[in-house]
Structures are given as C-alpha cells and as structure tokens.
C-alpha cells in the first residue's frame, strides 16, 4: 500500500482494491509509529481523517469519486483549517483555532482529500532547515551512509517534505517564499513545485511576505504534484492577486514530449565553490534533456548574484508589516504587561523566536523613516531588473535547468551561528520568488554520502505545463528509486 504513488493509490481506490478507511488507518498507524522519530507533524487529526475517509468510501460506492477522493495528505501548519489548531510553527499562534478554511485546503476537501494532520515548519515559514519551529526540529528520514547523525529536511516546509519522503502521506501542501517547497523537496528526495505567483489563492494562509508567498504541493512524483496542483489552484475572489485564468490539467502535461524545446543554462548559476557532485548532476540533467530531443542553450541572467540580498530586504520588510497583527489582543497568545505598550512588547518577545525577531527588526529598520529609499525602494528596483533578466531569457528559451540547492541535507544544528550562512541555501530558488515564475524540484540523484539531490526547472509565468513536461522527462531519465532509511511499510 505504501509503495503506491498518489496516482496509483487513486486507481486502486477506484478499483476498490482497498477502502479509503483502510488506507487512512494504515497511514495514521505509520504516523503514530514514526512521528516520534521525525516530528513531521505538529498536530495529528485521526478522528477527522477517518470521518473524511468514510465519506470518501461512500462517494466511491456511489461511483462519485472526485479528483482526490480518499487520498491522505499532510497540511503544512501555515494553512488555516477550520476547527483544527493552526500554529505557523510559532508560540504566538499555539492556541489559535481558525474558524475558517483556507481556499487551497477547501479545494482539496472539495475534491475528496483526507487530512491526516498539520505538518511542522520553520516558525512563520522563516527558515531553510526547520530548526526555527517552536515545536522542535524535524528529522530528515534520510541519513548519510554509515552514519546516524540527524539531518535537517530543509525548510520551511520541512514537516511536509519529511512526511511525504517517509511515506506518512501521499502528498502535502507547502508554501514557498524563497525556496521553501523546492529546497526541502531536494533534501528529502521528492518532487515539489512552486507555481507562478497568483496560481494558488493565498487566502487563509498565514501571511509572511505577501508579494513572494505562493502555495504548492510536495509529492513523491512529478505527476503526483501535477494532480495536486490542479486541485489547489484557481481564481479566488478573496485574494486579489490570485490569477483569473483557467487551470489546465497539469497531469496531462507530464506526458508531453520535450522534443524541440529550448532549455536554457544560466551561466551565473555556476557559483564559486559549487560542489563537483552538483555540477556533475546538472550536466547529467542537461544530457538527459538533450537525449530526449531538447536543445540546450547557454543564457545569461546578469542580476542573479543580487537576488538573495534583494530578497533579504523585501522579505523582512513585508514580514515585519504582516506580523504587526500579532499583538495579543484579537487572537493568539498574550503575555500581560503594566500598560498597553508593555503588553504588546511582552507578548511579542515571548511569542516570537530568534529568527522571526531578527527579520521583524531588519524589516522595521529598512522601512523606517530615512532608510526606505536606500533599502526597500532600491530593492524593488533591483527586483524589476531580476524580472527583466528572466523576461528577456524566456524570449529565447522555453525553460531553464539549474540545481535546486547548493548542497545536500546538512546536520541539525549546523549553520546556526551566522544567519547569512543559512540564507545562502536559497541562492538558486529565490530568483523565482522575486520574479514570480514557476519552479519545480525533481529528485535526480544521490551524492557520495547517499543523500538525494534535486534539479530545478524554471518556466515562464503561467506555463507550469512546460515545467511539468520537462520535470517528468528528467524524472523518467533519472529513474530515481532510492528510498530513505526511515519510512512506512518497512520492518521497524
């Protein structure tokens, strides 16, 4: 049962090989057995899952199976779920039970999905390791060959990625502000796509950096991601930045040929100190696409090197504005104080962790009187130049191929001394957020320690279909079949 993909499970459910209830029960048992080791879930919702599974079985019996009827998923704990605690990985939201459902999760429920629980994440999705969660770090189900050292699953969607990789869910919702879907996908040996900004509604997702945040799926295969995205996407009156355009059948695009496509290789991504293993995997990926009939073209994105520093102005600035709402008055945790200001300051000091505090302070500074032009306005202009680079390149090519992350998964506690060292993880993923374009990470190989590495496909705005076609071609050529040591369905 655990070796089936989402697409395979869907077919088996429709063929009544097992019931949705049996499936949910098996996944819940696997979570119970393995979550103490992985900490991938902050909240597990067995009663809700079984109730949804029973409704799925009833729909299947009536022959009314929806797009995702009976499919067990993990929901990143940044998506508001009606009646189910939603923490954003923060102490300040620890008591928060939303009275409403996010648009993305309501789409998944509409299509019959079963929610197993809420997945752990970096606090307010700020991080690249899942080490900043107020609910403890997540352990990557992969380990280095011959070592038991606990590795990070990446972040911020670390719980979602670890749950999917360990086969504790068939797929998961995630969000990506600077790489938070793609980097954990790479670290955990699974697929994940950040669609074009506006493809999924942000309504009901705890806001972090609103001009960068975008929801997307994590799953074992490119096709599974495509199936999930078709459900998650779509226009929403409640999010004015959600795109009013039809949602294609993304899964159909996975079967498209890449013959004749032009694939760009951005020369600026060959950063100093790129590991030879990642460089070799990138070359292999280009070779696979060439063999599938694509044409490889060298291209230039001259402002690449400024992407990350620009991001670390825009992101904290928007975060400091968004997080102003956590004041201990309307929802969330409150710490009392002598007067109103005192109460605000105590509440926010007790409620926010170190990384969130750093970003709120940086954001407050770059937006403060006298510094706005030098930092924020300048960053927005450089952001325009980054977008212009992509716009010009996409006149010549259909998609770009790059590594997803500069390294494989690292150890828990590593890179914690200097915030900038942690930020460098996102060097290849941030430009897609700055420019709003879609990006997909595909598991493509293992490094010398036996850890997974991903390749990233970047595409034109709203052309996820080409991204899926290229990603599926890479997946077929790579034949990535390695599995992590910790996973459901094996002898424990």
């Amino acid at each position: 049962m655990f070796s089936l993909t989402l697409a395979g499970t869907r077919a088996a459910l429709r063929a009544r090989e097992f019931s949705a209830r049996e499936l949910a029960t098996a996944y819940l048992a696997a979570i119970e057995a393995l979550n103490p080791r992985l900490n991938a879930f902050v909240t597990i919702t067995p009663e809700l899952a079984l109730r949804q599974a029973e409704a799925a079985d009833a729909a299947l019996a009536r022959g009314e199976a929806g797009h995702l009827t009976g499919i067990p998923l993990a929901i990143k704990d940044l998506f508001c779920t009606a009646g189910v605690r939603t923490t954003a990985g923060s102490r300040i939201l620890a008591p928060f039970v939303p009275p409403y459902e996010s648009t993305v999760t309501s789409h998944l429920l509409r299509d019959g999905a079963v929610f197993l629980g809420k997945a752990n994440l970096d606090e307010f999705a700020m991080g690249s390791s899942n080490m900043t969660s107020a609910f403890g770090p997540v352990t990557n189900p992969w380990t280095r060959r011959g070592s038991n050292a606990r590795l990070v699953p990446g972040g911020s969607s670390g719980g979602s990625a670890a749950a999917v990789a360990a086969r504790l869910a068939l797929g998961a919702t995630a969000t990506d502000t600077g790489g938070s879907i793609r980097q954990p996908a790479s670290f955990c040996g699974i697929a994940g796509i950040k669609p074009t900004y506006g493809r999924c509604s942000r309504w009901g997702i705890v806001a972090f950096a609103s001009s960068l945040d975008q929801a997307g799926p994590l799953a074992r295969t490119v096709e599974d991601c495509a199936i999930l995205l078709t459900s998650m996407a779509g226009h929403d009156e409640k999010d004015s930045t959600s795109a009013d355009r039809p949602v294609p059948d993304f899964a159909a695009a996975c079967a498209r040929s890449v013959k004749g496509l032009r694939i760009g290789v951005p020369t600026e991504y060959r950063s100093d100190g790129m590991s030879p293993e990642i460089e070799a995997l990138w070359q292999r990926g280009l070779e696979w696409l060439r063999e599938a009939g694509a044409e490889i073209v060298d291209v230039s994105l001259p402002h690449t090197k400024y992407g990350l520093a620009t991001y670390y102005i825009v992101d904290p600035a928007e975060a400091s504005s968004n997080l102003a709402r956590y004041d201990g008055v309307r929802f969330g945790a409150r710490t009392e104080g002598a007067d109103l200001t005192d109460m605000y300051e105590n509440t926010r000091a007790a409620g926010f962790g170190a990384e969130v505090t750093r970003r709120v302070l940086i954001g407050t500074y770059v937006l403060s009187a006298g510094y706005y032009d030098a930092y924020y306005l300048r960053a927005q202009k450089i952001r325009a130049l980054i977008l212009r680079d992509f716009t010009e390149v996409f006149r010549k090519v259909d998609a770009l191929l790059t590594p997803t992350a500069p390294t494989a998964a690292f150890m828990q506690g590593e890179r914690m001394d200097d915030p900038v060292t942690m930020y460098l993880n996102d060097v290849f993923t941030v430009p897609a957020n700055m420019s709003g374009i879609p990006g997909l990470s595909v598991p493509a190989g293992l490094d010398g320690d036996g850890l997974p590495l991903g390749l990233q496909v970047l595409g034109k705005p709203f052309d996820e279909e080409t991204v899926f076609a290229v990603g599926a071609a890479l997946e077929r050529a790579a034949g990535f079949s390695a599995l992590p040591g910790i996973r459901a369905g094996m002898e424990q």
């Binding site: 008591p95 928060f96 039970v97 009275p99 409403y100 900004y197 506006g198 001009s211 960068l212 975008q214 009156e237 004015s240 930045t241 795109a243 402002h303 400024y306 520093a309 620009t310 670390y312 102005i313 400091s320 004041d327 201990g328 008055v329 309307r330 929802f331 969330g332 409150r334 104080g337 002598a338 007067d339 109103l340 005192d342 109460m343 300051e345 926010r348 000091a349 505090t357 750093r358 709120v360 302070l361 940086i362 500074y365 403060s368 930092y375 306005l377 300048r378 960053a379 927005q380 202009k381 450089i382 952001r383 325009a384 130049l385 977008l387 200097d418 915030p419 900038v420 709003g436 705005p461």
Partner: protein
C-alpha cells in the same frame, strides 16, 4: 551603515518587541552581519528603473463595493485571549 546599540533599541521599540540588555550585543552583531551583506546592492545601477511592487504581473482586480460577509461576531471573537461580552479587552489606556 552600522547599527549601534541605541539604534537596535529604537528599532525594537518601533517593532514592539521587548529586548533585554543582555540580548543587545548578539542582536547588534547579527543585524550588522545581515545589513553588511546587503550592502553589495549599492553597486547595482538602478538609474531610471521603475520599482517592482508585487509578485503578480497583472493588474489587480477591483470588486464591487458591497458587503459579502458578516454577522459572525462569535467566530471573530472566538480566539480572543481575553474578552468581555462582544469586546476585546486590553490593559487600561486612559486613566
């Protein structure tokens, strides 16, 4: 541009986050590390470039200015840390 302890205190005050004196040296070091790294952006020529304000390359839609939701005060208040009837409570502001 380098932040001194007084500036860190001022930013924390603006952000309404209590910072203890003992936290100041580390915060000052970390914030200066980040801001120092960001300074590389000064070498980019942005002359005549229009700022990009959002992630969406499209015009934002307008909707009709009508009430579409409401009458759910109990749901709205359900997560209040402290309340009296239909009101949120805060420490006394006016003597």
């Amino acid at each position: 541009m380098s932040l001194d302890p007084a500036t860190v205190r001022r930013i924390a005050k603006l952000a309404r986050i209590r910072i203890e004196e003992s936290q100041l040296p580390q915060l000052e070091r970390e914030l200066n590390g980040i801001l120092g790294w960001i300074e590389q952006l000064n070498e980019v020529n942005v002359e005549g470039v229009e700022p990009l304000t959002g992630g969406a390359q499209m015009a934002l839609k307008l909707r009709d200015d009508v009430v579409t939701d409401g009458g759910i005060s109990e749901q709205v208040l359900a997560n209040a840390p402290d309340r009296v009837g239909d009101f949120y409570t805060v420490p006394k502001v006016v003597e």
